[in-house]
């Protein structure tokens, strides 16, 4: 290669690069544009981290105190236990994933294995429109449709009794409809497109030969899906669920609008709960910069940031294992 270049230069076929070409301004400009994302992430991490530790550094709260279950920022000796918010985020997200994962994987399998072309060409655009519907609109639908329906349909205590054993399960009915379940249901629809499209890609990535091979052995399509497709695409489906989890845990407005925002530990799916995002949304505007109450909100956003960055790392680990296999 070097010889070739020298030959070109000797014969004068290739002019020596001029100054402009050696500086290569365009390359530098496009590099800066791409690298700006590194700067944004670095700044974001630095600022949120710095604000997030003020509660311990400046206000002198012990780190362990945030895992307390009492949230009372207005008391004479304010208490900033954010356990209700962390647990609230976890349970609402878990509920959403429990509802959404089977449904989304079902839609993904439908699109990749079952759907004729016409069905694909309507369901896929429909999912893209779902992605585009703003979260305030989902929240408003939750308030005007889901919440009233829940409180009208299940107003009374829900109990399951078995003969001889007696009552095995009971929980209070929906008082207002604003509840953990309402939050999980709204979120489950919001993360459906995410989980569906990532698992769809995972199913499409399974080589066609494996399908034909399995079917040639006389299996039914469902046996092929269960014993071949799902195991082969498992890491992709897991990635999808983690991405859905990140989206659900970080969603703010729609959740805030339907979960009732009660800063207590989650008790039952029919009861109001609260989450990190919804409490930040509610309180940030009512607090003054630098006061402990606001510092506690910054600590909560640091927790959210840690959740989301660790999910990026988790997705990378899942996919590295797949490549390693």
């Amino acid at each position: 290669m070097a010889q070739l270049t020298n030959a070109f230069e000797a014969t004068g076929l290739r002019a020596k690069p001029g100054l402009m070409e050696r500086i290569d301004l365009p390359r530098r400009v496009v590099f800066l544009a791409a690298a700006s994302m590194i700067a944004i992430v670095a700044l974001l991490l630095a600022f949120i981290f710095w604000q997030g530790i003020q509660l311990f550094v400046k206000d002198g709260q012990p780190i362990g105190a945030i895992f307390d279950s009492t949230w009372n920022p207005l008391a004479d000796t304010p208490e900033f236990g954010i356990l209700p918010f962390i647990l609230g985020t976890l349970v609402v997200t878990a509920g959403a994933l429990l509802i959404s994962t089977p449904l989304s994987v079902g839609v993904a399998l439908f699109l990749s294995e079952v759907a004729p072309n016409w069905a694909k060409s309507v369901v896929q655009p429909a999912l893209e429109i779902f992605v585009g519907i703003p979260s305030v609109v989902w929240g408003w639908l939750g308030i005007t449709v889901l919440v009233p329906w829940l409180s009208d349909t299940f107003p009374n205590k829900i109990a399951i009794s078995m003969p001889l054993v007696g009552q095995v399960f009971s929980m209070p009915g929906f008082l207002t409809g604003f509840s953990w379940l309402a939050g999980s249901l709204v979120l489950s629809i919001m993360v459906l497109p995410t989980i569906t499209s990532v698992s769809y890609d995972a199913f499409r990535a399974v080589p066609q030969e494996l399908r034909t091979g399995s079917l040639a052995l006389g299996t039914t399509r469902w046996q092929t899906i269960r014993h071949l497709l799902i195991p082969s695409a498992l890491s992709g489906v897991l990635t999808a669920v983690v991405l859905g989890m990140t989206r659900a845990a970080g969603e703010a407005l729609a959740v805030q609008m339907v979960i009732g925002n009660s800063p207590t530990l989650p008790a039952a799916i029919t009861q109001p709960v609260t989450t990190l995002t919804s409490q930040i949304t509610l309180d940030m505007g009512n607090t003054v910069f630098g006061e402990p109450w606001q510092d506690a909100l910054w600590t909560m956003s640091l927790v959210l940031l840690i959740i989301s960055v660790s999910s990026v790392v988790l997705v990378r680990l899942i996919n590295k294992r797949r490549i390693g296999q």
Partner: protein, 318 residues
């Protein structure tokens, strides 16, 4: 293998009766049940979307009208959403003015230049990280950076920059995909004619990628238009004033053209109305605003499809 060996898609794979002896009745039944269930999930998506559209069409009936779109909010009557609709469009344009050039340039680097090294890996990691950061946290970042530390207060520019941070990874990735889709032969041909790498990118690769780039811009625009959590604490959630559109003073805090003023957008307005819960017409106004938002989302989506297809056809035909 002949084409007949592959069954038509959408047909269940139950073996022919003569071969059925090896496949138990139970597994065939399970296959049928699974097929029905998978169809049901697919149709559920369509039914849900259909009912949402019908729901808002009904709810917005009699609310959304030219006067609703073009008049100021009012305490006593239904009023309108003109200032917040204006702000949404204003914020969209302001954000896209920053995000589109940076995103496309970044996409050019990732598609045409990026070597396979640690730095590129870091850019990809940053891209994925921003995409996964909750929108409310990006909003808080804008709050601490622009509103508090830079002492801008709640301004349209702070909101637009925060929205840019949030959507830059999406724009960059869509641009990169569009550019990567350009066949390698086009680049080789241009380089073989003696064009420099940058000339090749500028005159060959980018023009060929235009349909994909435009689709990317429209998809990003759709997400920017509906976003609210990023804006709550950056461009503010105050009551929108009456805008005097003849005030072109770009530094004035009340001019609708100025980036240095608070700007409550349509989505933020919905959130605000709902959390304050005041006014006899609250529900109608929110239903109407939500219907406007959904129509815009449909428009952006269909627009992206239509424009992309049209441009591809025109460019491949010429």
């Amino acid at each position: 293998m002949t084409a007949t060996a592959r069954p038509a898609p959408g047909r269940s794979m139950a073996p022919r009766p003569s071969l059925r002896s090896k496949t138990s009745r139970g597994s065939i039944l399970a296959d049928r049940v699974a097929t029905v269930a998978l169809w049901a999930t697919g149709m559920f998506v369509l039914v849900l979307l259909g009912s949402i559209i019908v729901h808002f069409a009904v709810a917005a009936w009699g609310v959304v009208s030219p006067s609703f779109l073009l008049s100021d909010p009012s305490g006593e009557t239904l009023g309108g959403i003109m200032p917040v609709l204006w702000n949404s469009i204003y914020m969209l344009v302001l954000t896209m003015l920053i995000a589109v050039p940076v995103g496309i340039l970044g996409g050019i680097y990732m598609s045409e230049y990026a070597p396979d090294n640690a730095l590129t890996g870091a850019i990809r990691f940053a891209e994925e990280s921003i995409s996964s950061v909750p929108s409310i946290v990006v909003g808080l970042f804008g709050l601490i950076l622009f509103v508090d530390n830079a002492h801008w207060g709640f301004t349209a520019l702070a909101g637009a920059l925060a929205l840019t941070f949030f959507n830059l990874p999406l724009m960059t990735r869509l641009a990169e995909q569009a550019l990567r889709a350009v066949p390698q032969d086009e680049r080789s041909a241009s380089l073989a004619l003696g064009a420099t790498k940058w000339q090749t990118i500028r005159h060959v690769v980018v023009p060929l990628a235009i349909p994909g780039l435009i689709t990317g811009v429209i998809l990003t625009a759709g997400r920017v238009f509906g976003e609210a959590a990023v804006l709550l604490f950056t461009s503010g959630l105050g009551t929108p004033p009456h805008y005097n559109f003849t005030n072109f003073d770009l530094t004035s805090p009340v001019s609708p053209w100025s980036p240095f003023r608070p700007a409550t957008t349509l989505s933020v307005y919905i959130y605000k109305l709902n959390s304050e819960g005041l006014g006899a017409f609250k529900n109608q106004i929110v239903d109407g605003s939500a219907a406007v938002l959904i129509s815009m989302v449909l428009l952006f989506n269909l627009g992206a499809r239509f424009v992309g297809r049209l441009l591809t056809r025109r460019m491949t035909a010429s």
